[in-house]
Every structure is written in C-alpha cells, then in structure tokens.
C-alpha cells in the first residue's frame, strides 16, 4: 500500500465516474432513438450532475446528510475494489465478498438517508428497494457461489482471468448459460432498470427514495448512481464475459452489456413489487439452482469444458 496505490485508486474512481457518465449520456441517445426521437447531447449527464451540485440544498436532519455521505463513501470504496482488465488499485482485494459487503454499506447509507428524509413516499420506496434487493440477490448469489465453488476462487479478477484463455467460448456466458441468464436478469434489478424499477417508479411513488433529494444531495446521488452502475455492470462483465484483456476490450463489453440492459428497459413496463419478487423467485432462482447442481455434480462448464 503505497501512496501510488491511493493515487491510482483516486484516479480510478474519477475515471470510472467519467466513463460511466459518458456511457449513460450515449445511452440516453440510444433510448431516444428507440422512442423515435433524437435525444440530448451525449454529455448531458455531466451537465445534469454538475448542475445539481451547483444548486442549493436543504437538510432533513443529520441522518439524511450522513446517509448520503456514507452511501457515496461506501460506493466509492467499492469501486476501488473492482478489477478492470489487469488494473487493480489495491492488488488482491477484488474478493467478491468484500465487494458485496462494501456495496451493502453504500446501499444501507442510501436507505438510511432516504428514510431520514421523513417523506412517506421515500419510506415506501426504501421498503420496495430493499424487497427488490432481496429478490434479485438470492438467485444472483446462488450463481456467484456456484462460480466460486467451480473456480475455487472468490477473486473477481481471477474469475475473469480464467475465462480469458479459451477465446470467446471460455466466457461463463457459455460455460454456465443458465447462470449467465440469471446474472443478466439480476443486473436489470441491480441497475434499477425496468421491469424491476418499482422502487423508484415515478408514476406510482414519485421516484421513491429520491423524492426529497434536491440540489447538492441529488448531485451526489447521481454520482452514486453512476458509480454503482459501474460496479454492477463491471461485475457482470468480469463474471460472465471474461472481463477484458485490455481497457478497450473491457470498455466495449461494458458498453454492450449496459446498452442491452437499457434496451430491455426501453421496451418493458415495470413489475409491481410483489410481482417482481414472485418473478425472481420463480425462473431465475430455479435456473440458478439448476446451474449450481450442474456445476457441482457434473462439473460441466468448469472441469468439463472444451
């Protein structure tokens, strides 16, 4: 752990933010195309975030303020642990359990802060968000555990590295197709994209947890959202698409995954929250368990592969 590490980590968080924000901007244009229109400038997302930061902001109590900071801190910390290509800010810390754990700090901070705002819509939103998390985490964790069991490592970077050997067919997408499908479905939920965005549903609960956020707090929330998107999409890329040998390769894969998630979101209505839970506990959970059985009992995809 040198100063260089910390500098790297700092620059990495900045780069991750810039990268994801640009891609969000580009994706807004893609979505616009789907809706038969032209869409905003590609850098609009930056303008939005900095605009929000430039505005005044009020506090709803220390829980509210602290929650946001805690969430942002937690998420930034998580970003540092994400392995991208062969880059590690702090070597050997890309353990998936660490990532999940630190990520949870961020989410908890968020939930704390939103509840602290005292708005009933926010409370309902937080309730829904936690339910939603519970729904997608279960099948996703089953797949991840399967993967850890299969590859005998919990390091995301290593899991990605293992897949890189056999060309395109070395990816877990082909090794564990069922698991990959579950992964993508879970990603939709993690990103809060439709059909699993009932916790922010504007038409129902007026954007849920975000209802009381404005100004600087909202700006931080946007940064937080972009960073957590980066974490989640990177995880999927690393876990199922073999990460990337270079930044470019990783970036392309990242873009494809995120755009695909957006496109699915663009043509989907949202589930009600109970329906979302039911949905996750049906096919994805079943598929993940089946995948687990396949890997554990046959080794197909891990030991028996090409």
């Amino acid at each position: 752990m040198t100063f260089q590490n910390f500098l790297n980590a700092f620059l990495f968080v900045l780069a991750a933010f810039a990268f994801q924000t640009s891609i969000t901007g580009i994706n807004r244009k893609v979505m616009a195309r789907l809706q038969k229109r032209r869409g905003p400038r590609w850098y609009q997302q930056f303008l939005d975030i900095f605009k929000a930061l430039s505005k005044s902001s009020i506090s709803h109590g220390w829980v509210y303020d602290f929650g946001v900071i805690m969430a942002l801190g937690g998420i930034m910390a998580t970003v540092i642990f994400i392995p991208v290509a062969d880059f590690r800010a702090f070597p050997n810390t890309d353990n998936i359990f660490i990532i999940s754990y630190v990520l949870a700090v961020g989410m908890l901070g968020m939930a704390m802060s939103a509840s602290g705002s005292g708005n009933p819509w926010a409370s309902i939103g937080v309730g829904r968000a936690l339910t939603n998390m519970l729904a997608y985490e279960v099948p996703f964790m089953v797949v991840v555990v399967t993967m850890i069991f299969g590859f005998k490592t919990a390091s995301v970077g290593e899991i990605a590295g293992i897949q890189q050997g056999l060309g395109i067919f070395g990816w877990n997408l082909f090794r564990m197709p069922l698991g990959a499908i579950v992964g993508f479905i879970s990603l939709q939920g993690m990103l809060g994209k439709k059909p699993f965005d009932s916790f922010i549903a504007p038409a129902e609960i007026a954007s849920g947890p975000m209802v009381e956020y404005g100004g600087k707090h909202l700006g931080m929330l946007f940064i937080l959202h972009d960073l957590s998107t980066f974490i989640e999409v990177s995880l999927i890329v690393n876990l199922f698409l073999g990460g990337g040998a270079t930044f470019l390769e990783f970036g392309i894969k990242y873009f494809v995954v995120y755009t695909l998630a957006n496109l699915v979101s663009g043509i989907s209505p949202r589930f009600k929250i109970d329906q979302a839970v039911v949905f996750y506990y049906k096919f994805p959970l079943l598929a993940s368990i089946v995948q687990g059985f396949i890997v554990i009992f046959t080794g197909w995809g891990v030991t028996k592969w090409l």
């Binding site: 807004r28 616009a32 809706q35 038969k36 229109r37 032209r38 869409g39 905003p40 400038r41 609009q44 303008l47 939005d48 900095f50 605009k51 430039s54 505005k55 005044s56 902001s57 009020i58 504007p202 007026a206 954007s207 975000m210 209802v211 009381e212 956020y213 404005g214 100004g215 909202l218």
Partner: protein, 183 residues
C-alpha cells in the same frame, strides 16, 4: 431588483450558470390546460430533452416550475407549496394568457388573474395555449438568459417575500392544504 440588472458574479457562480443554463429540469405538475401541449413537447415530436430538459417527479429535484395556464386558488396553494420546496436557483415560466391577466377566466371566482402577484415569473409565453414550438423557444430563451445571469425571479421572491406572502394570503386565505377526510 429590476429584471435584467446584472450583478458581478464570482467565477463559481459563472460556472454554475454555465451548467444551469444547459440543464433545466421541469416539475411534473399540470396546473392548467396548457399542460396538454407539454406531452408533445416532451415526447418524440418536439423532444425537449434536446435542450437538456426533462420532467422531474418532485419539486425538490426540479429547477423550473411551469405554470401551464390558469391557476385556481386551490391549485395556487399547492403551487406555492411546491415552489417553496424547490431548491435555488429556480425559475417560473407562465404559459398562455391566463397567467398574465386571467385569460378567458378573468371573471371566474375561483381562478387568480395575475400570477406575478403571488410568485415571481421569469418568462411569459403568449398564446392560448402556446404551441410546442413556442414552448421550446421559451425554454431556449430562458436558458440563454440563465447563462447570461438575467433571470432573478427566485432572488426577487426572497427579497420581497413579505409582499408576496401578503398577496398570497389575500387570494387564498390560508396556504394550508387540508385533508379530504375531515377527521
């Protein structure tokens, strides 16, 4: 402070205006019938997201309040609520005739006549109702004015708060939103 008076700004504020003038979020509140031209403006035909504008679900997140036409006193209470919840800097665009001088409802007992008595208006659009093109032009003009720091409605509201409050109370009696259950 009169409209258009320029004040020397710090470079932070200039930078702020740079962003504010390019990203303006509107509050999703259909206060009157002019709101029927908002969907075309928002959606594919006129696509106001090109200007960096989009609807926001709550007043806290919004920068701009669109008063789309007439305001009944009952709505005015809620609009005042909403406006005061918005974060500075905030702007108001008044749509159509009704917000200027009562419009077609000038003799109605339940709609106000002059919006700027109660809230500071930054821009008026003529028409009943304004076409999407006019609305888009107004947004564009407003953004330009924000970038040039010519919009100061929210400052006026703070400065003349007592006067605004007095007018508001005269019209609405009480700026308190009652519960329908009467329990």
């Amino acid at each position: 402070m009169a409209i258009g008076d320029k004040v020397e700004l710090s470079s932070w504020e200039k930078l702020g205006n740079f962003f504010r003038g390019r990203s303006v979020w509107m509050m999703w509140y259909c206060t009157g019938c002019g709101a029927i031209e908002m969907p075309p403006t928002m959606t594919s035909r006129f696509d106001m997201e090109r200007l960096g504008m989009g609807p926001m679900a709550t007043p806290r997140q919004a920068d701009i309040l669109l008063v789309t036409g007439y305001l009944s006193v009952k709505t005015l209470r809620r609009v005042i609520y909403s406006y005061e919840q918005m974060q500075d800097p905030k702007y108001i665009i008044a749509f159509g005739a009704c917000a200027v001088n009562g419009g077609i409802y000038f003799d109605s007992y339940s709609t106000i006549n002059k919006l700027d008595d109660y809230l500071p208006v930054d821009m008026y659009i003529a028409g009943c109702m304004p076409r999407p093109e006019a609305i888009m032009n107004a947004f564009n003009d407003l953004q330009e004015k924000i970038r040039n720091n010519e919009v100061d409605g929210w400052k006026r509201y703070k400065k003349n708060y007592d006067q605004y409050k007095k007018n508001q109370l005269k019209a609405v009696g009480e700026v308190y939103v009652h519960d329908e259950f009467h329990e």
